[in-house]
């Protein structure tokens, strides 16, 4: 007990001194090996190596590169134009167009931050111009951006799949209906609260022109996801094809991508991988040690003796993940908690794929919750608006997402239906 308290004190001390999570995990790994393991620290490096020596991980940098390329290009602008033309005759059409664009862009980029920045940079001024309130526009964009992590391809789902040894293709498939459900939920809300906003006239000409300009962007999710679900491509091959497609489209069709942009996207991806990969490697290394010491199994036993009902467990797990989402980034939370929660979920008969969806949606909400909600911070920086305005704007959306989370938690068919 004392040794565990020492470990907690060390972690808290390191956090106070602004030590990054990679270094903290290395400290934790070393401590756990020294105190509870056999003291051979070289095993940490060996486990780190075997953790990242996997073909499936190749998809992560490629999806990140792809998202980064699209963030710099014109795909988002063209998607918004198509969605705007389609929803012009609906009250709150521009807001609905924004949510739908976020959902489609999410189906290409796999990243919440990229979705928010790429769509938001174009949609935010348009929403303000059309008379939407600042707080609503910011809330819709920050929340719409989070769809990037549940609608496949999703990098958090890839991480969950790797760390729990669950099929990534099945996770992607399971994410489709929850993604559609959350999009409908957000879209419905935007239409209802903005019914007073004057509708625009629908124009077949504008729709035709926007479709002509946006057809290359609209085809992309079909190629990417169609390739994966049909079994034609593995997720890694699909990521490579999507990257090639986005490079060709942005550089030669949309003519939006300079060589400087390419360098910046590569640099961006490399540093992002630099923060993600060591984390993945160290977390998996610690998980291997914990598993060999049967810690997850013991925790699962303890949990099942303390909490008998599956419903209570689901509620407790959601509460835990929502709190974790407030203070921890998504990747770290998945890498640290997913193996433990999966083992616990098993004892209550929760499908690991369903658990992955629940975990992703929980941490998706964490992108919106202060103090460290990533989308709040990105929205504050990208749109130069006060933090308070953004937080006020996302509050109703968080309530909606919580409702969505409860439905997804207690209706597993929504996640598992397409797998059957």
């Amino acid at each position: 007990m004392t040794l565990a308290l020492v470990l907690i004190a060390m972690v808290l001390g390191a956090l106070i001194l602004r030590v990054n999570i990679a270094a903290i995990l290395l400290i934790v790994g070393a401590y756990v090996h020294m105190v509870w393991g056999d003291g051979e620290l070289v095993y940490i490096i060996e486990d780190m190596w075997s953790a990242i020596d996997k073909e499936v991980l190749l998809s992560i940098p490629l999806f990140l590169l792809c998202g980064s390329v699209m963030g710099k290009g014109a795909i988002a602008a063209r998607l918004i134009r198509v969605m705007r033309a389609l929803t012009a005759s609906i009250p709150g059409g521009m807001a609905l167009a924004t949510v739908l664009t976020c959902a489609i862009f999410a189906a290409i980029s796999g990243s919440s931050a990229v979705t928010l920045i790429a769509v938001g940079s174009i949609a935010y001024p348009a929403l303000i111009k059309d008379g939407y309130s600042k707080s609503f526009a910011l809330g819709a964009l920050a929340t719409g951006g989070t769809l990037g992590v549940i609608i496949p391809p999703s990098i958090p789902m890839i991480l969950y799949g790797i760390v729990t040894e669950t099929s990534i293709v099945e996770l992607f498939t399971a994410g489709i209906l929850p993604g559609v459900f959350l999009t409908v939920l957000l879209g419905g809300y935007t239409v209802i609260v903005n019914r007073h906003i004057p509708r625009q006239g629908f124009s077949w000409v504008e729709l035709g022109q926007s479709l002509r300009d946006g057809v290359w962007s609209l085809i992309m999710p079909v190629i990417l996801l169609g390739g994966i679900y049909s079994g034609y491509f593995s997720p890694t091959e699909s990521a490579a094809v999507a990257l090639a497609y986005s490079l060709v489209i942005e550089r030669f069709v949309h003519k939006q991508l300079s060589l400087r942009d390419l360098y910046e996207t590569a640099l961006d991806t490399t540093t992002m991988m630099g923060s993600l990969f060591p984390l993945l490697a160290i977390a998996l290394s610690i998980n291997l040690l914990l598993t060999s010491e049967q810690v997850p199994a013991q925790l699962a036993d303890w949990m099942s003796s303390a909490v008998e009902s599956k419903t209570t467990f689901l509620l407790l797990m959601n509460a835990l993940l929502l709190i974790v989402g407030c203070v921890m980034d998504m990747a770290s939370a998945i890498l640290v908690l997913a193996p433990l929660l999966q083992q616990m979920g098993d004892t209550y008969g929760i499908d690991p794929i369903h658990l992955g969806v629940i975990m992703t949606v929980n941490l998706e909400i964490g992108l919106l919750t202060p103090p460290v909600g990533l989308n709040l911070i990105i929205a504050m920086t990208a749109f130069r608006e006060p933090f308070g305005v953004i937080v006020r704007g996302v509050l109703p959306f968080i309530a909606l997402m919580l409702f969505g989370l409860l439905v997804l938690s207690f209706v597993p068919q929504l996640s598992l239906f397409l797998l059957q």
Partner: protein, 164 residues
């Protein structure tokens, strides 16, 4: 520019060139492999394996690159515990701790490398000595430790933290 600044720049330029080149090769290999397969031309020997090893090299180089760009993930909910007046000192102590951790793991990684040499391990599929790839591990830890040592000595060189 100070010596520390020059060292940081040299490290960054060298590592980013290797990392970006590796990503270009990964992308090229995987795409060519898919295209060749689709046109019935077979596939490139070891394309996926080579790509994985290159990705690992990129991942480890990224450890230092992320440090130099302030991109390492860090939970910030306890940032307010230390008063603003002591914030710079806390950052400096944090840099010293990170330098120590990464340097210590650099030393451990050398043991890892020596083991690979001693056992004559070969890379899967492409059958080259494993240590020629694994040498990136101690390098990455030491390069990151050196960066944090420089940040501790001259905090003005420590990058502002990015959002993610």
């Amino acid at each position: 520019m100070s010596l520390g600044g020059r060292v940081l720049r040299v490290l960054f330029r060298g590592e980013i060139v290797v990392a970006i080149s590796a990503y270009v090769v990964i992308f090229g290999l995987l795409l060519t492999d898919v295209v060749m397969r689709e046109f019935g031309l077979g596939s490139i020997f070891g394309a996926q394996r080579i790509s994985v090893y290159l990705m690992i090299v990129c991942g480890f180089l990224g450890l230092g690159l992320a440090a130099s760009q302030g991109r390492h993930l860090r939970p910030r909910f306890l940032d307010g515990v230390i008063p603003a007046s002591l914030s710079a000192a806390a950052d400096r102590v944090g840099s010293v701790i990170m330098m120590g951790v990464f340097a210590a793991f650099g030393v451990i990684a050398i043991q890892f490398l020596l083991d690979a040499i001693e056992y004559g391990e070969l890379a899967r599929t492409i059958r080259i000595p494993m240590w020629t790839i694994q040498i990136v591990v101690p390098y990455a830890f030491f390069s990151t430790a050196l960066r944090y040592a420089i940040f501790a000595l001259d905090p003005s060189l420590r990058p502002k933290e990015a959002l993610e």
